[in-house]
């Protein structure tokens, strides 16, 4: 039998044995038998000594190929065996993965704070600086300087918590600010245009609390003053805010409205998110939800802080924050925001 035939037979036998399967020990015996130092392949190679150079070359190449083939076959068999062993071990040590995970405590930020933060950051991105002001104010800043002098009907109509404190030397009276607008005046007193600020904060109105009214609520105020600021900028800026906050596909609508410290005055409404303009319970059937009041800063306000209203112009806006999560999540009773019931707060 020539060496070639011997090699063929060896290959057939070895692969046949491997295919028959076995455990780790039999696989190791197979490796020693066919790939070890004393394997049949080694013996065949040793017997090459008596052959011619050409024959030696040919058989050498054949036997090398065989060795590579057997090596590869061995590795596959070994991996198959390991994988089978591993999976049978796992099957004996499983867990009920449907059991709940170990609880990590999770706190929630208050929904009003979340909305305030989100709105502030939208305006920050448009170049507005976030400022805060005192919650206890002088009527001078809350009314007088906002074009609501002592006997202005709008001032009388604003239900105000007055504090039981003597007026200061200038005769100013102390109150809980009824809006965040006093910071418009405080900012313009100290800074010249260009000015771009937003002022979030707590405000108070002397109003009985019910499902849609609170005596304390949060507002965010905006003010931009510079040369050449127009009502078109007001509309564009607030429309952009609405796009970023409510979504790019929500329509907005401006209508004329009155606030003593702006002229022209405006109110912005956003298309109702529930009915998309068709009218539903949330929007009172109108399809629109009033979101904020705005307008061009009244010339009297600018002149009051010594800003030339012929040269500079500006816009201001203010919105109540409680309405926002109210509108987004459909909360029907505004009192829930300050009731501090965890069953409510944990939903945000």
């Amino acid at each position: 039998m020539d060496i070639k035939t011997q090699l063929e037979e060896l290959k057939a036998k070895a692969l046949g044995e491997l295919a028959a399967g076995g455990d780790g020990a039999s696989l190791e015996a197979w490796r020693v038998r066919y790939l070890g130092k004393k394997s049949q392949l080694t013996e065949i190679l040793r017997s090459l000594a008596g052959l011619s150079i050409e024959e030696r070359k040919e058989v050498g190449a054949l036997s090398n190929t065989l060795k590579i083939e057997l090596d590869a076959a061995f590795k596959i068999a070994e991996e198959t065996l390991l994988a089978r062993a591993a999976s049978s071990a796992d099957a004996k040590d499983t867990i009920d993965i449907s059991l709940p995970g170990r609880p990590f405590p999770r706190g929630h930020l208050h929904p009003v704070c979340q909305a305030l933060g989100e709105i502030s950051s939208i305006f920050t991105a448009m170049g507005f600086q976030v400022l805060e002001g005192p919650e206890v104010e002088w009527d001078y800043y809350n009314f007088d300087m906002l074009n609501m002098p002592k006997e202005h009907p709008a001032r009388a109509a604003t239900d105000t918590f007055w504090l039981d404190a003597p007026p200061n030397d200038a005769g100013w009276k102390m109150l809980l600010r009824t809006h965040t607008s006093p910071m418009q005046v405080r900012t313009m007193e100290k800074n010249r245009p260009p000015i771009r600020i937003v002022v979030p904060g707590i405000v108070h109105r002397y109003e009985a609390t019910d499902a849609t009214h609170l005596s304390m609520f949060s507002q965010i105020e905006g003010l931009a003053v510079d040369e050449g600021i127009s009502m078109a900028d007001l509309k564009g800026t607030l429309h952009e805010f609405a796009r970023r906050f409510f979504g790019t596909d929500r329509r907005v609508r401006f209508r004329c409205d009155f606030f003593p410290y702006v002229e022209p005055g405006a109110e912005m409404a956003v298309e109702c998110g529930v009915c998309r303009g068709d009218g539903c319970r949330l929007c009172g059937g109108s399809g629109w939800i009033e979101v904020l009041g705005a307008g061009m800063v009244h010339p009297n306000v600018l002149e009051g802080v010594g800003i030339d209203s012929k040269k500079y112009s500006g816009f201001a806006f203010g919105m109540g924050i409680e309405r926002i999560p109210l509108l987004r999540a459909g909360v029907e009773d505004i009192r829930l925001f300050y009731g501090n019931d965890l069953r409510f707060l944990r939903q945000f």
Partner: protein, 798 residues
């Protein structure tokens, strides 16, 4: 202001559907809150009772034959006031009506009543939805057109307008007509004000003196004699009813009608009850009294502007008339007052006497003095027409406070500057003219504009520009973004600190709450467990005793929120609030430090698999504060403290950088837990963020990574009960090779002698310049032990 479409149409043609008109007026600045359609009366017609016969089968019912013009129908009717020849409202089958008893909506069906077919129904006011009256049928005026649809004859639309404080003109039907005309391009037909005087000269009958032109810029009056007081004609009653004003008698109704028409409040006096033919407009004397129309005796003050005759006050200016000069059944001569009063004076009086009225609402919004005369003419004219009187020759017109509206110079460039929209000069002119302004071209691009006599809110450029914009519609203004340079910004570190604190605490499982800034003294006191110092700022007129003052501490409110929640669930609850407290400062606004208050409590154990089992305690609280401060990069230590709201010996002051006390933490004092009905183990921490702010700079410190390996050793020592962990650790940390000392066990019990405890530390030794040998570490360890023994009497626990 309720405005009837029918009335409005007398002055302006309207082709728009009512709901579209309402939208237009709303967009232009006056919200139409509600549009009420009166008479959705399909299948209801004007009929006339032709024949009345008894019902064959029922004594209390009758058969009526109703003439509808083109045909006669028969109905069964139970109404007592059925009279042959009366015009009535007849409903055919299919009409939508209200049930005469329940008020529910019904659709009329043909029916047999006691065996007789009724072809419809003769309606009561209630069935038509006009009133609650269902006793008898509605009898229409004799001139009602036979066979006409009732909706055409009697239907109307009522607009309910929410008028802003700047627009008193919108509190008048004529004002609304002018607005409508401007918005729709129609023209206004103003009412005719002519009348023929027939009496003697008015100057012989009355003289008027105004003592203060500021308080009363104008006083007009007319006299009508020979009036017959009686019921108002239907058109007058209907007009008042549509605006929600009750009919009283023809004279009073006319004054109200003209007020609703022009927006100028009027008052009618019984001329014969004005003493000595003289009217004086003056301030009352302190203590002077008068009985007003409602029969109440009012005490007047020196700030009250009154109308008086030489003997006594006869009216409170702009607020209410007096009883003595009231128009009554016996009145034959009437003096009509049409005056202008200072808005703030009327407002203050109205508030002081708690007597808001339709009249004061108009005066407070500052109506134009120019309204007084046309309104007076209209009233005199109507009184002649309706009450059959004779007007005196001439009218009184005292006008000491005359100030004509100044012309305003408006340029196209100014319009463009404010609106951001190029409005052609011709359009500016046309728009302003449509609003009733007088416009004179000064140049190609500028105008002199004078507002119409009914508008008091047009004074500045900006006012006219708003009117141009709102008539054109705000949708015609483009949307642009700010194009100027972004201004410099000053850092506002509190925003960042607050956000960090909130996020870290939420990450630890704390729920954020917001409580009211207004609270009451008991809550504050209970939370602090000490008398209040300083005394909080009080509200002048609190709405309720629970909101009487401004909080000087967050504690009470946050603990109350905790108590409310603990009743609803078991387990651990962590809450926090960041917010201002308000500390009074003499002569100035209060200081408003920003405080952080966290509370922790637990009841039972969390009923959750693998959930927290141990009750909340001091060390949870301290851990939260330590973790928070670590996150903020602020080094803190804790020293014993004596906060009255916390348990002595279970509380600590939070000290930053060894010198700044920025808060306290600890277990609540038992009196506090009792006061709020909280578990004994409830803990609290409180940090003054204003103190924290300059320390929480967020600066990062970098330390190079160690080059040489660390050696770990455990050390357990026995010390007396009174020795603290911090005493031990301070000594250990005093050795320079000690990199870290971590406490991992505290034990007292059987295995150590009574009065002692054992503390075990895991120590890390490391050198910056060489690899430590065991001998070196052992040497340091024994030096540590020796020092602990010398200074604290510690022994090694073996």
């Amino acid at each position: 202001m309720k405005c009837s479409l029918k009335w409005l149409r007398q002055y302006v043609d309207i082709s728009l559907p009512p709901s579209d008109l309402a939208k237009l007026i709303t967009a232009a600045g006056t919200e139409v809150a509600h549009v009420e359609v009166i008479g959705g009366w399909d299948n209801v017609f004007v009929g006339q009772i032709a024949v009345i016969e008894p019902h064959p089968n029922a004594d209390r019912l009758r058969l009526a034959t109703v003439n509808l013009g083109a045909e006669n129908v028969t109905v069964v009717c139970g109404a007592p006031n059925l009279v042959i020849g009366d015009k009535i409202a007849f409903a055919r089958a299919g009409a939508n009506l209200l049930d005469g008893h329940t008020g529910e909506k019904i659709k009329l069906k043909p029916s047999k009543i006691r065996g007789v077919l009724s072809e419809g129904m003769v309606c009561s006011e209630m069935e038509l939805g006009l009133s609650r009256s269902h006793e008898g049928i509605l009898v229409l005026p004799p001139d009602a057109p036979l066979g006409a649809r009732l909706a055409d004859y009697m239907g109307d639309v009522i607009f309910d307008l929410e008028v802003t404080p700047n627009r008193p003109d919108m509190l008048s039907v004529l004002g609304i007509a002018h607005e409508t005309a401007a918005l729709t391009g129609a023209a206004v037909r103003e009412p005719n004000l002519d009348f023929i005087p027939a009496g003697r000269s008015i100057d012989e009958s009355i003289s008027v003196e105004i003592t203060d032109a500021q308080l009363c810029p104008r006083y007009c009056a007319g006299i009508v004699t020979g009036v017959k007081i009686g019921e108002s004609p239907r058109w007058l009653k209907d007009a008042l009813t549509a605006s929600g004003v009750r009919s009283i008698n023809n004279v009073v109704d006319i004054t109200n009608f003209v007020m609703l028409e022009f927006g100028q409040p009027l008052h009618a006096f019984d001329y014969d009850h004005i003493s000595r033919s003289k009217i004086i407009v003056r301030l009352a004397n302190d203590g002077e009294t008068m009985t007003t129309l409602d029969g109440v005796e009012r005490k007047l003050t020196a700030e009250t502007l009154i109308i008086a005759d030489p003997d006594r006050p006869i009216a409170i200016a702009g607020v209410m008339g007096g009883a003595t000069s009231e128009v009554t059944q016996g009145t034959t001569a009437v003096l009509i007052e049409s005056a202008n009063f200072k808005p703030s004076s009327v407002h203050n009086t109205q508030v002081r006497l708690k007597m808001p009225s339709e009249a004061s609402a108009r005066f407070e919004r500052s109506i134009r003095a120019e309204l007084a005369l046309p309104a007076l003419r209209r009233a005199v004219q109507l009184m002649i027409e309706v009450c059959g009187g004779k007007a005196a020759e001439g009218l009184i017109d005292r006008y000491p406070g005359r100030k004509d509206a100044a012309a305003v110079l408006l340029t196209t460039s100014e319009v463009k500057r404010i609106l951001g929209l190029d409005v052609p000069p011709a359009q500016i002119e046309k728009t302003l003219v449509s609003l009733g302004c007088k416009v004179a071209r000064v140049s190609e691009n500028s105008f002199e504009v004078i507002p119409p006599y009914w508008r008091s809110d047009l004074r500045l450029n900006a006012d006219f520009i708003e009117d141009i914009a709102r008539v054109m519609g705000y949708q015609s203004i483009p949307d642009t973004l700010l194009s100027g340079a972004i201004p410099h910004q000053e850092p506002n570190p509190m925003l960042g600190l607050r956000l960090n604190m909130r996020q870290v605490l939420a990450g630890f499982g704390f729920q954020e709450v917001i409580t009211y800034a207004l609270t009451d003294r008991p809550t504050l006191e209970k939370g602090m467990n000490s008398p209040l110092s300083p005394e909080p700022l009080h509200i002048e007129h609190p709405m309720s005793s629970e909101q009487e003052c401004l909080r000087t501490s967050l504690r009470g409110n946050v603990l109350a929120a905790l108590a409310a929640n603990i009743r609803r669930e078991e387990g651990a609850i962590f809450l926090f609030e960041t917010g201002h407290v308000y500390l009074p400062k003499p002569g100035d606004l209060p200081v408003e430090p920003e405080m952080l208050c966290g509370v922790l409590t637990s009841t039972g154990s969390e009923k959750v698999w693998r959930g927290r089992k141990e009750p909340v305690d001091f060390f949870d609280t301290k851990g939260a504060v330590e973790g928070l401060m670590a996150a903020l990069g602020v080094g803190v230590n804790f020293v014993e403290s004596q906060d009255p709201g916390l348990r002595l010996g279970r509380q600590a002051a939070v000290i930053a950088e060894n010198k700044f006390q920025m808060g306290v933490l600890g277990q609540l004092h038992p009196r506090v837990t009792q006061a709020f009905d909280l578990p004994d183990n409830t803990c609290l921490f409180e940090i003054n963020a204003d103190v924290l702010l300059p320390l929480a700079t967020g600066t990062m410190h970098y330390e190079p990574l160690p080059k040489f390996p660390a050696v770990m050793r455990d050390l357990a020592v026995i010390v007396g009960e009174g020795t603290s962990h911090s005493q031990i650790v301070r000594i250990i940390n005093g050795f320079s090779l000690v990199k870290k000392a971590v406490l991992f066990d505290v034990y007292s019990g059987k295995q150590v002698a009574a009065g002692n405890k054992s503390l075990a530390y895991s120590l890390t030794f490391q050198s910056a310049d060489h690899t430590l040998t065991d001998t070196e570490v052992d040497k340091v360890l024994s030096a540590i032990l020796k020092k602990l023994a010398d200074e604290l009497g510690a022994t090694l626990r073996s």
